[in-house]
Symmetry: C2
Subunit: 332 residues, 2 copies
Amino acid sequence: MKTIRLSIIGFGAVGQGVARTILSKKEILHKQGIDLRVIGISDSKGSEINVDGIDLKSALARKKQKGTIAKGNEGALDIIRDVEHEIVVEATPTNIKDGEPGLSNMLGAFDSGKHVITSNKGPLALYFSQLKESAEDNGVIFRYEATVGGAVPIFNLIHESLAGNRVMGIEGILNGTTNYILTRMAEERLTYELALKEAQELGIAETDPTYDVEGIDSACKLVILANSVFGQAATYRDVEVTGITKITPEALELASKNNYVVKLICEAGNGTLTVAPRLVPKKHPLAVGGTLNVASILTDLAGRITISGKGAGSIETASSILSDILYIVRNS
Amino acid sequence: MKTIRLSIIGFGAVGQGVARTILSKKEILHKQGIDLRVIGISDSKGSEINVDGIDLKSALARKKQKGTIAKGNEGALDIIRDVEHEIVVEATPTNIKDGEPGLSNMLGAFDSGKHVITSNKGPLALYFSQLKESAEDNGVIFRYEATVGGAVPIFNLIHESLAGNRVMGIEGILNGTTNYILTRMAEERLTYELALKEAQELGIAETDPTYDVEGIDSACKLVILANSVFGQAATYRDVEVTGITKITPEALELASKNNYVVKLICEAGNGTLTVAPRLVPKKHPLAVGGTLNVASILTDLAGRITISGKGAGSIETASSILSDILYIVRNS
């Protein structure tokens, strides 16, 4: 039995999804000779630490009941630095102003010799190359499948499954909220405002939808993808971004009559980074509807490979984090 | 520098594609510390052996000029058994009667302690569990990404990228020829016979199209997928198969009016294995056109993940074989 000790830093939807997933997969992982133990969990109010492994069921129940995991006052960095474990799962909320507290958590983890898995886009959209360098300097693994495409394993597909291929370009829809709004506008001839309202009522769009509808969330994901695949050192501010707020039902109808749909497309390749509404032929692999995410990878050998799936959701994001955990189990 | 010695058994379109790909990737692989050397190539007429590494450029030129690689009389099994190397790339033509000569080549390779990578569906559609067992007994790796979906890395996606997920079902279009015929019938209101003729003129369908249009090629691929993913021990004869020869333009038109397309869909899950024409909503991720292949994986955590790409082609197939080679380099 290989024992791997984890901390979960940030215990919102993603962190709780990870805990639930580790719980539900306990037996099957045991059968594969893997014993995952969560030795520390922290949220914004405090933390729980147990070097023998936290009882995840009661931790989840306590979080639900009291709104916090807090049993003690240790902060995230106390757990990351001072408790012995192998993997830090960094799942604090995305902050694209300065990347904190994720940035300090990740750098602290690297410095204390721990592998990092994250769903937090902020630090990677701002300081990707610094983070990668710090991981390399400390001889640890840095994985971030959950930052882009939710459940869709884009990084793994490119780096492992398509190994040997040169990637020439990437196109994709990396934001489910805008895809939902555009899909509903096209299907029902809704105005942008009405479709947004519907998305907000369904919990697909946030009360302040700016990051999504102005294309900033897409830009963050695109820049992480480009940095990882093309070895760029860009930040999300280097992306040329146009949002979807000015698209009219009339424009979508005209597109539809000519067998096109309008999608908020992210594009990387030849050094350019663009997020903008584009006409996509209805039969094109990128023309996926609803809240789906999709990425199309242009390669020298395999040609165009397109992958789609759910771009958000607590368990879907945990799926990507679990695959990263298992990657580290196999490769460390 | 890690030196990996390979043999290429079978030097048709796939074998030559592998040689061309190894040639074109030589420098970039060197930079990654990998030195791939082909020490033996065989075709139906003979072979070339060079323990220091065959000059692939002149081997390809000779094959083109003379129609054979033959310099010596050694057969495939002589190379496989008697020449020291690590990986056998088995690329002889698919034979679904008895799986030969691929079956003996693969078993011979396992018995002599060599890893096997193959594009040959025959042996796997008939004797999957025996082959897997033989590889395990001999402590070697058995990879077959190129047998299903051409350039689409289906096995790698499921086993590596979606690690931790339980696969509940698989649906897909695994034959490009029938997809082309159905797409053209729908687009141009062609009869089956006319669309087939067009596909034959373009080299997409073979002179005897039986295996493709009767769904047998799809059944072989489906059974390999099911055996690999669900640990079944089925053969292609266990698949319930209906081909596309009885589909009329009228049926396609009626489907289209209701926003459906007709596709030859492979389905595995709950122990059933089916290949049959199915109605697919035009907006469904499986509704890809032309010669594309697509697979939709239903999982417990990630939900539905769909991947599409080119299902055939010499370099596309070589892409899958190269990713298998690099997997073995990383894991052996």
